[in-house]
Amino acid sequence: MTFEPIPLSEAGTGNKMRLTRIEVTGVMRRRLLDLGFVPGNEIEVLQKSPLGDPIAFRVNNTTIALRSEESSLIWGKRLGG
């Protein structure tokens, strides 16, 4: 079974995603790339902040938190079941 790409902000906690597209632009795009939010890379949705936002992601064995403004512009496909 395959999954349609969804924004990371909508992927539930605990899911592993393969990134497909980054729609963020400018310096923030550069920063995201440097941190490993690169199309093709695999990330895991770890944990929401107590107030729901930001969300922490596991990328390249590091934990990075993003606000929904950015994570809603990063797209990925769910991996596995």
Binding site: R30, R31, G36, V59, N60, N61, T62
Partner: protein, 243 residues
């Protein structure tokens, strides 16, 4: 007595400042939040009759001028040309950390890669084949634990060898996709003609293609006057803002 200048580069949270303190025998509390390395900190130490000046660059994820920190670290490596740059990597997240290492290796071959927190990695069941890593990168690679002071002598002996020219590292170049490689090849001859070997031509070509505005501005200043580009002075380590 010969004095070498050594720069420490690395991601935030890799224990760079701990290594700095270990080497220079300083005992300051380290940490990003309380005592962030601003611009750069300097200290000195001796190893086998050789005097070293150690420069702690700010911890950054990359050297592509996304922030003042990244610019400061990049400017130091590319324009000040330290005798050796030690790239400190966190053994528990090598993928991301290698990203920076590779950026440094594109700028200079005078590099020693230092994999810190190796004890932490062992505890987490992460095994790293250091010799293979060294082969892959093409530069001396040492595993250490800065806080438990293991591997420090090995690190220093490699640093000394690279500084003295006993070892001339030849970093394995990254191959980019055909489109980029072709553009690099088009640019490199004119860059070499203009700069000679004052700056690495391939790296400059990549930065031009990336449209790195801030670097270009600094480069122009540097080309006009080798000293005027410097923005701010280095701080002595442990000099704090308060009290």
């Amino acid at each position: 007595m010969k004095t070498y200048t050594i720069a420490l580069a690395g991601n935030p949270n890799t224990g760079k400042s701990t290594l700095f303190n270990t080497l220079t025998n300083m005992r300051q509390h380290t940490g990003n939040w309380a005592g962030k390395t601003v611009l750069r900190a300097e200290g000195t130490f001796q190893h086998l009759d050789t005097q070293f000046t150690l420069v702690d660059l700010p911890g950054t994820y990359s050297l592509y001028s996304n922030s003042a920190d990244e610019e400061a670290a990049r400017d130091y490596i590319i324009f000040e040309k330290p005798d050796v740059t030690i790239v400190v990597l966190d053994a528990t997240s090598l993928e991301r950390n290698l990203n920076l290492a590779i950026q440094v290796l594109e700028m200079t071959n005078q590099v020693v890669v230092c994999i810190n927190l190796i004890d932490e990695a062992k505890r987490l069941g992460i095994h790293i084949d250091i010799r293979k890593m060294e082969q892959k990168l093409g530069v001396p690679t040492v595993a250490i634990s800065a806080r438990n002071k293991t591997g420090i002598n090995e690190l220093l002996s490699q640093v000394l060898k690279v500084a003295s020219g006993e070892i001339v590292p030849s970093p394995t170049p990254i191959t980019y996709n055909d489109e980029i490689e072709q553009k690099i090849n088009e640019l490199v001859p004119s860059i070499q003609e203009m700069l000679g070997d004052r700056l690495p031509a391939r790296w400059v070509a990549l930065r031009l293609l990336d449209g790195d505005e801030s670097l270009l501005t600094t480069m122009k200043l540097w080309l006009t006057d080798q000293d005027s580009y410097k923005k701010e002075e280095a701080l002595q380590y442990g000099q704090t803002a308060c009290h």
